[in-house]
Structure formats: structure tokens, C-alpha cells
Subunit: 334 residues, 2 copies
């Protein structure tokens, strides 16, 4: 096997063979992601029956994706995936493992110990875990420097975000190759620079859900109206811009201007929640600098127009969905 972490520039990234450990919901979805992008994928599960049904489930999902125009040929993608209930033979030649085992530290420790005995020393071992930082199950290994988290959103073949979370021991090369590999797999990787509970995505989701539950609990709003607030309000821009770009475009001179107008309101609300996190000036300055590096001031006006055109296109898309669903319902009734 070629060295992955050392020869990454010489070796085309698509020639890295991907090992998927665990043929459950997440493992099957990862197999689709990598095979669809042209990688060879070897799926392992301890349970041979699970492997057989995984093959059928993957084919079923690929047919759906093909109908939506998101995959060219089902058989072509299936040809990239093999299934193997023997760990050693499944992992032969594999340069990158996406581990999708059960969500507990002891189980993961056992899997990683076993994996170390069958893969090359520099094969990257990435965990799909949503809640456990990788240092908890990799620190004891012979080669912890090739371990990290690559946390997907379910299902990753429809939601491209992947959180890459190195441990303090992870090598820069392993992190860089994982980011590069996820880009090659047409995912959208982000780098979480230091280990933190819940990573970034679930911390953001948790902050919003906590406030949502409080508003529901205290009788301010029904669950249905709470969902409407996001799906007909905040969620529209967030689906193509994210929250920082959204506020950057919500005041004429950008995000610092926005903070000058609204941060006292947000601070008051935060204090009502029993915490006290004012938006401090140096953080806002750094945020403003990064935003202006991404989008210079002279391009702000054009970006406002871009946002409105994207919103119009999204509205037109959603309207066509609603009409199509109304039509489908009518057909089913007749």
C-alpha cells in the first residue's frame, strides 16, 4: 500500500481506497457519498446479514438520487462498493477509514484497537461520532496521530456539511488530507480547531433549541408557530448564507455596523435568559476583518442584490414544491 499521509501530493486523492466500518444508516450513507464521487469503497460489518441488506438499501437510495438528478448511473456507483464481513480482508489496501460504530467510548476503544492491527500505520481513522471527542478513544493507540472525528449530518449524501475535529495528537497531515478528501467527495468540510463537546453544529443547534423550548414552555408561542418562524423566516437566508453573512448584509456597512445597532437588544435578551455574554469589541473587530477579507466593502451592494436574487429563486423553488405536492395529493385521491 502507498503511504497516504506522506505521498498525498503525488497520489491522486481519488485513488485512496475508503473503508467504511459499520453498515448501519450512517455507514451506508457514507458508502454512497464516497462511491458517488468515484472512490472505491469497502464496507465492513461484523454481521453478514446486515451487509446484504445494506447493499439493497444503498441501491434503493441511489435510485431515489438518480430520479432527483443527483446521481448519473446506479450500477456505476454500485460497482464502486464492495461488502466484506472479515475485517482484515475488508481493510486491505484501505487508506482512509470512516468508522460508524456504536456511540460509546468503550465500544469505540475496542474498534480502534482492532483496526490498528489490520490497517497500515498511516491509514487515517475518522470517526462519525456526533458526541464523543476522538481523544477519548484514540489516546491509547500506537498511532493516535492519524485519528480524528469526521462528523456528518444525516444523511451525508443530501447534507454536505462534515465537521473535522482533530485531537491534540492528530497530525497536521492527517487533518489536511481529511479536509482534501471530503472536498473530493463533494462534501463541505469545516475545521473545528480544538476538541469541544457537541462540536460546532450541535452547539449551535442546542443554543437555538434551548431558547425555542423556553419560549414554548412559557406559553409565548406554539410549536407550529415556532417552526414557522424558522422555515418562513430565519431559515431561508441561512440555507444559502449562514448567520454571520446574514447579519453582515443586514446593515449598510456590514457586521460591525449591525452589532452597533442590535447588540444591546441581544445582550438584554441574553441577560433575561440568566446568562451574560455581551458581544465584545475585539471579537466583533476580528469578525469584521474576516468578513471584509471574504467580501470587500465595495462588493457589499452587489452581494445584497445577489442575496435578494437567491431569495427569489428559493421562493420560486418552494412554490413549485408546494404546487407539486398539491398535485401529488390530488392524484393519490383519484
Amino acid at each position: 500500500m502507498q503511504s497516504v499521509t506522506q505521498n498525498s501530493r503525488a497520489e491522486p486523492i481519488l485513488s485512496i481506497i475508503i473503508g467504511v466500518v459499520g453498515a448501519g444508516l450512517i455507514g451506508r450513507a457514507w458508502a454512497i457519498v464516497f462511491a458517488r464521487a468515484g472512490f472505491s469503497v469497502s464496507v465492513y460489518d461484523v454481521n453478514a446479514a446486515a451487509l446484504e441488506s445494506a447493499g439493497k438499501a444503498i441501491r434503493h437510495s441511489l435510485i431515489d438520487l438518480q430520479q432527483a438528478g443527483l446521481v448519473a448511473g446506479v450500477d456505476q456507483v454500485m460497482a464502486h462498493i464492495r461488502f466484506d464481513a472479515d475485517l482484515a480482508s475488508a481493510m486491505r489496501g484501505v487508506g482512509f477509514v470512516q468508522e460508524c460504530g456504536p456511540e460509546n467510548v468503550e465500544g469505540k476503544k475496542a474498534i480502534y484497537c482492532e483496526l490498528e492491527t489490520v490497517v497500515a500505520d498511516d491509514t487515517i481513522l475518522a470517526s462519525s461520532t456526533s458526541g464523543i471527542v476522538a481523544s477519548l478513544f484514540s489516546d491509547h493507540l500506537r498511532h493516535p496521530e492519524r485519528c480524528l472525528v469526521a462528523h456528518p449530518v444525516n444523511p451525508p449524501y443530501l447534507i454536505p456539511l462534515v465537521e473535522i475535529v482533530p485531537t491534540p495528537q492528530t497530525s497536521e497531515a492527517a487533518t489536511a488530507i481529511t479536509l482534501q478528501l471530503m472536498e473530493a467527495a463533494q462534501q463541505a468540510p469545516i475545521l473545528v480547531r480544538k476538541e469541544i463537546e457537541g462540536f460546532v453544529l450541535n452547539r449551535l443547534q442546542g443554543a437555538l433549541l434551548n431558547e425555542a423550548l423556553r419560549l414554548f414552555r412559557d406559553g409565548y408561542v406554539s410549536a407550529e408557530d415556532l417552526d414557522k418562524t424558522i422555515k418562513y423566516g430565519l431559515g431561508l437566508r441561512w440555507s444559502f448564507m449562514g448567520p454571520f453573512e446574514t447579519i453582515d448584509l443586514n446593515a449598510p456597512a456590514g457586521v460591525v455596523d449591525y452589532a452597533n445597532r442590535y447588540s444591546s437588544l441581544y445582550h438584554q435578551v441574553d441577560q433575561q435568559r440568566g446568562s451574560d455574554n455581551p458581544w465584545d469589541e475585539s471579537t466583533l473587530k476580528a469578525l469584521g476583518e474576516e468578513r471584509r477579507a471574504l467580501l470587500p466593502s465595495k462588493e457589499l451592494a452587489a452581494r445584497h442584490e445577489w442575496r435578494d436574487h437567491r431569495l427569489m429563486a428559493l421562493m420560486a423553488h418552494q412554490r413549485s414544491m408546494t404546487e407539486q405536492e398539491a398535485c401529488d395529493t390530488t392524484i393519490r385521491r383519484h
Copy 2:
């Protein structure tokens, strides 16, 4: 003038004449919303020059909307809008006022006092304010029972969410008619049952932004990657489902099942933020009951499929946007 709050059932809602007070960005956008839906709209501004440029700006926006297929005829919509720099004549016959004045309590108090002298006793007075509860500028009026907040997201002709926030003095009829009128205007109104600072939308946005700024400040993530986490991750489902329906579909048996799996993670993270809001059982029970009333258990599996098909369609839409933008860039370069 017919009585609006008493004869609402007898009178077709579209026959209510809409008064828009203030011809700035928000006032112009509201004029588009109401006129597009078939209402007659009378736009007032103290500044006659502002009224003239408002007419041009509205026409410009309507042309954009027509190109996106979101408006049938520009002239047809323009014919529904008149402009008047005299408050008394502008508000003649108006049954619903959408006030879009400056964001300060004293200014609003003055506007509402003046409005009371020129409108009928039961004309509804709705404020576009994003930060001031209506009781602060309506309690002193002769008829505070017809005052409330109708807070839009900018621009309301592209983002349909409107927060309807009655004061303790607002009549049920005024609230009900406002909700009905916003539906007729093809907006998505929600009812915020009691006054609260920041209403619902900005409280949710603030909770997420606070956490986002903390993660950025403490070096866990770049601003660009933070935005990616939402736009390639959480924001996709939120753009057509909202956060409660999202988690309701993220565990086999629905939202209570989800909470059993993940609420301890969210609680730990919340404690790290210095607050302490566990998800309590009775709130989760009530949330579960409302969700099951909206989506019975036996329909959960079909809704999972619906979600995935909506995600696929959204991905295909976004891909076509990206291709179109790449193409536009190429054209501009040649």
C-alpha cells in the same frame, strides 16, 4: 367606512384598504406585499420627495419579482398603490395601518397620537417595529385595543414570516383580523401570545449568534466555517421544516425519543455556557403532544421520505443556482 373589527365576516378581507405610514425600505416592501395580493394601498410619508423615489424603487423591485416569476404584471400591481404626503387624506377609508416609522418610543407615541385623529375608531394600527413592544407606545391612546405589532423580516415580499404580537390591551378581534389579513396577503403570520423583548425570531437568532460568536472568539472555528455549518448543514432542513420538526424526524419515535437520546448532551453544553436550562419532562410531553397532533405517529415514516425528497429537490435547486452563477461569471468575463 365599514367597521373592520365588527363586520369582518361580512366584509371580504381584500376590500380592506391598507395604509402604509413611512415610505422607507420597510414601508415600500409592505406596499409591494399588500398590492401584489390585490389590496388597495395608500402610502404616506411626511416627505414628498421620499414618496416620489418610493414609487420608482417599488417599480424596480416589482420588475425583479416579475423576472423571477413571483409577480404577474408590474403595472397591475402599481395600479393598486397610491402615494399621499397628507396624512388625513392618505388615511381616508383605511381599515388597517402598517406603521413603518423610526425605531424609538417617543417617535412612535407621536405617530400613533396623530394617527388616532385621522382614522376610524376601529382601524387596526400595526407596527413594523423589530424591538419595541406595542404597549410602550399605545397604552396612552383612546383606543389601544386596536394596536399591536406586525413585525416583518426584511424584505417581507421575499420572506413571508410576520410576528403578530398583541399587547395586554389588544382585542381578540384585532389580533384575529390581522392574522387573517396577513394570510390573505400571502405572508406567514405567527402569533406571539404575550409581549416579550425581541419577540420570537430575534430571540432565536440571538441565541444562535451568541453561541456562534463565542465559538469564533475562542478560536474553535473561522467565521467562514461557522457560516458553512449552517448553510451546508442545519439551514437546509430548517428552510422547509423548522427546528422542532427537524428533531421530531431525527429519532424513530419522534421528538420525545430524540430528547431521551440527546438532551443530556445539550444540557452539558448549556452548563458550559454558564446557564442551566435542562429540557424538563412536562415541556417535552406538551411538545410531543402538539407534534403528534400535527403529525400522527403512523405518518412519521412517510414524512421521513417527504423530508428526503425535499432535501434532494433543494440540493438540485442549489446546484442549478451554482451552475447559473458560474455561467454568469464566465459571461461577464468575456
